[in-house]
Amino acid sequence: MVLLLFSYFATVSIVAGVMTVALRNPVHCGLALLTLLLHVAGLFVLLNAEFLFAVQIIVYAGAILVLYLFVLMLLNLKTEEKYLHRKHVFLLFAAAGILGELLLLLMQSPYGGMKGQVSPKVVLETGQSQAVGLTMFSDYLLLFEIVGVFLLGAIIGAIVLAKTPTGLHAKADES
């Protein structure tokens, strides 16, 4: 059952990723990206990461993708005849080569390492969201605060950049 679910999520996410890259209409690309994000969220459930599953759907599919689609519709992009670079065939061959090399290396690598304290048994007993919260607000508290400051800076930067520059024009008209 798990294998079936994994193969479904993996296949659909790869197909959706390729469609995001290959489709001509930008809105269709956005919808393919939405499919990809939802199926990656499904993969997170298979990996016992239920909190990340919720965050992926709420933040990625709910907020970030809506922002993308909003800007797409705001800018009213035309679907162009030439939507790829001129030399894209060469790049596709290079990417296929890199991917083959990468997969070869990955299949040969041993995967192992020290186990941590959060075994599936502990997760099932206490709940995964609680484990995430306890870790985030003890070991990763400083990072959490830094990310908060980063998000504040990003909000201010986005507002300043996208604000209609009326002030400059008004000053130029006066003088």
Binding site: L3, V21, L36, H88
Partner: protein, 100 residues
């Protein structure tokens, strides 16, 4: 039980897909979307290792990546709006104001 290498291979395929998209697409917004694909591939990798090594560190990194992706999307889209409004360019390869 699914082997860890399956997740890693899936993440590699998605990452290369996103990389190809960044390199070959001419539309700004699609390029940013392909960056999101790459971030998601990295997230799959982190969560898979976190689950298989029974540690919380990978999931923390994935959460922070999602937060950073939100900020990146906001700032990137604001820059795109500025570029469009100033009629500077409509495609990625036409932005060459900083070219020496």
């Amino acid at each position: 039980m699914i082997p860890l290498s399956a997740y890693v291979a899936l993440s590699a395929i998605l990452f290369i897909t996103g990389l190809v998209g960044v390199l070959i697409r001419r539309n700004f917004i699609i390029v940013l979307m392909c960056v999101e694909i790459m971030l998601n591939a990295a997230n799959i990798n982190l969560v898979a290792f976190s689950s298989y090594l029974e540690s919380m560190a990978g999931q923390m990194a994935a959460l922070f990546i999602i937060a950073i992706a939100a900020g990146e999307a906001a700032v990137g889209l604001a820059i795109i709006i500025v570029v469009f409004r100033g009629n500077i360019a409509t495609n990625v390869d036409q932005i060459n104001l900083l070219k020496w």
